[in-house]
């Protein structure tokens, strides 16, 4: 009896396992399995690059655009890249949610690609400290001569850890991010010119308020960091738009300077007089106020300009927006955000099978011909070229809109091609001429005391700045606020940064 029971139980277990392995329909064979030719040849230090090359890049929105039978590893552009580089490349992507977690798992499992992208300075330095990355000085010198067009010496030096370079910055060719925007049609209707100084800004807003009875300036600063992003063009007029400023050869937090108090005082005045949207601190998005004409000025990411314009065209009243120069302060200071700082890096893992190939492929990517391929496509099929002038219709561009995911760094040539294809140049180009504020700590290595505290300190200042503006905290307490800031770790953070800055 007992024996029969056991037999039945074990039978059922076997059946169960059979059933599970039986329905193996869920296992799609991946379209192109990589053959492991690497297994037999000697790893690292070998004189010959292997043919197979695995690249893991950060998520890029264009990956969603593959149509028909095209996939990430099977389409005409990647075929051309394989043909021209001589490498059998396979791309895959990190998730766009929490890529750092996946990266640490990949390194822990030892199953690493040959080239990889990481996001954020602190993540990069963490990996470098762990010894997970291949030092690149030699490879750069011998294998990647084209790098000079993609990374300046300064940006490379900022990545040194223990004197060695472990990453190549993913060049960011966009130079403009957020800018100051106006409803040009409303100003025209009231016979007003775009204000150029802070004082003019005030009087222009006064006039609009009198004639239209609206709060002319709106912002959406409800999420962390958005207060500084939004009011950047105004704080720049006081020289306190970036987190740190240089004073007497030292870096100081701009948030505790007397100029910052001036800037807050101005905003408070605007708020009290109804020139600044009373809901600015709770707005999640402020485009609607521009569209509905209940505000005239706002800070927008440049590519949002086209969305607002489209919406204005579709609504009966029409109208258009224009990016204008940031207002100039009394000392002649002004500026918009410098968007060109790269926060993404390309690394070669220490355990990679094909380090030499990785370096050679990077050099191939940084060639001008390759750049044309990944930004325009294939000649006479996707674009035409005559005497250095490239012509590509929107349809041609949309057919291969995913092409830019293969680059590991952007060039000005490439970004212009893509801006043109998306009709964004009118929103982008005018802003190139405006002054950009430079933040020195962007060129610093990872400084623990500063990096780990930064977000907390910034959020603390944002919160208090909004309180000061809305009268929830009295401005006479500004000095007390600076002491609180220092006590919260502000002083320790800036001292640590100055260790680096004064020795530079």
């Amino acid at each position: 009896m007992m024996f029969r029971k056991t037999a039945v139980i074990s039978m059922s277990v076997v059946m169960c396992i059979l059933f599970m392995s039986g329905c193996s329909t869920g296992k799609d064979a991946s379209p192109s399995g990589t053959e492991k030719t690497a297994a037999t040849s000697e790893n690292g230090g070998g004189a010959k690059a292997l043919k197979d090359l695995k690249i893991t890049r950060l998520y890029h929105g264009v990956m969603e655009q593959f149509k028909g039978s095209d996939t990430m590893n099977s389409n005409k552009i990647i075929n051309k890249l394989r043909e021209n580089s001589g490498f059998n490349i396979q791309y895959d992507s990190l998730p766009n949610e929490n890529p750092a977690q996946k990266i640490s798992i990949i390194f822990a499992s030892g199953d690493v690609p040959d080239l990889m992208m990481v996001a954020g300075k602190s993540d990069y330095f963490k990996l470098a400290k762990q010894g997970a990355l291949e030092p690149l000085d030699d490879l750069i010198a011998k294998q990647i001569p084209n790098l000079s067009t993609m990374a300046s010496k300064e940006t490379l030096d900022a990545l040194r850890y223990d004197g060695k370079i472990y990453a190549i910055p993913y060049r960011n060719a966009l130079k403009v991010g957020n800018g100051l925007v106006e409803r040009a049609d409303i100003l025209k209707e009231l016979n007003l010119n775009a204000p150029t100084t802070i004082d003019e800004f005030y009087s222009t807003m006064k006039t609009i308020k009198e004639k239209k009875n609206i709060a002319p300036l709106t912002m959406a600063t409800s999420s962390a960091g958005s207060f500084f992003d939004g009011f950047f063009p105004f704080s720049a007029a006081y020289g306190v738009s970036t987190p740190t400023v240089v004073k007497d050869g030292k870096l100081k937090f701009s948030w505790v300077q007397p100029e910052y108090k001036e800037f807050i005082t101005t905003l408070k005045k605007w708020y009290d007089e109804g020139l600044l949207d009373p809901e600015f601190a709770v707005n999640k998005d402020s485009k609607d106020k521009l569209i509905n004409g209940t505000a005239v000025f706002n800070t927008l990411y440049f590519s949002s300009g086209i969305d607002v314009d489209k919406a204005l065209q579709e609504k009966k009243n029409g109208g258009n927006v224009q990016f204008i120069a940031p207002p100039v302060g009394k000392n002649g200071q002004s500026g918009i955000q410098d968007a060109s700082i790269s926060t993404q890096y390309v690394i070669i893992p220490k355990q990679a099978k094909n380090k030499l190939g990785a370096a050679q492929y990077l050099n191939f990517l940084y060639k001008p011909e390759t750049d044309i391929l990944i930004n325009y496509g294939i000649k006479d099929e996707d674009y035409t070229e005559a005497n250095g002038a490239y012509t590509q219709t929107k349809e041609q561009s949309d057919k291969i809109s995913w092409r830019s995911m293969y680059g590991l760094g952007d060039t000005d040539f490439g970004i212009n091609a893509r801006l043109k294809a998306k009709s964004l140049l009118p929103y982008y180009e005018p802003q190139l001429a405006f002054k950009k504020s430079r933040e020195e700590t962007n060129f610093a290595p990872s400084i623990e005391a500063y990096d780990s505290k930064f977000a907390e300190l910034r959020n603390y200042v944002e919160e208090n700045s909004m309180k000061f503006i809305m009268g929830k905290r009295d401005l006479s307490e500004f000095d007390k606020f600076t002491q609180e800031f220092d006590a919260k770790g502000g002083k320790a953070a800036i001292d640590a940064v100055n260790e680096w800055y004064t020795k530079k």
Binding site: V8, N98, K315, S404
Partner: protein, 288 residues
Amino acid sequence: MKSIRGESIFSYVNVIVLSLLSLSTVVPFIHIIAKSLSGETYILAKEIWLWPKGFNFASYEYVLSFKQFYISFSNSLLITIVGTAISMAVTMLAAFPLSRRSFPLKRAFMLFFVITMFFSGGLIPTYLVVKQLGLLNTLWSIMLPMALAPFNLILVRNFFMSLPEALEESAIMDGASNIRILAWIYLPLSLPTIATIAMFYAVGYWNSFFQAMMYITDRGLMPLQVFLMQLVTNSKPGDMAISGGLSEITPESATAAAIICVVFPILCVYPFIQKYFVKGVMLGAVKG
């Protein structure tokens, strides 16, 4: 008389409170549907609440034009159906012996299951196990590691324990084997339980997201939730870390349409098992 009045007041309050509760769950849903059917301009101008403006289906066309949507949809369907089948089989086969009095190592096994409810092996060790089993980049990596939920196991076991022992005894008299007792007596008696637990599992598999992010890099194997997440996070312009500058921005109406497309299929399942649910809520309760 008084008690009747008290009762009627109670039922009035009941109706009001429950209506408010159900409204609070339905209103956001209607809002999303309205958004998905509206023109992008009206959404940007924040004019949409519960009724669409500029009525059109363009956002659904947009979502359904993605090849990835169909790939992901079929993956999710497969994960849900096969995964639920596996989970149900495993749960039933574990719960039945654990509910038998005569089973000697009952406590040890129960402890073994329950411990996993409170402690997990951690992310990286789990990843390494999945990797060594050769499950990386297969749909199995979503189905097998989480095939058994101890909580559901306890529910089913308690239900089995509540069934009268006489049933089993008489079946043994007639010479029925254990498998037969489970398949012919216990399972038919526990249909409400099966429906409820299957629903728990199915919704869980349909919503599986984290495992897919960890174990799967091949985009041909991505489930629907990952696709949805990517569409949604693509809707913020200027997020350098994600878009690398210039990628296609998802319009907000399309985000709403995608949410509806992802939620709708699993919603369709509810009406069919509604009747079992009412009984299923009484899991392990006294039988009248």
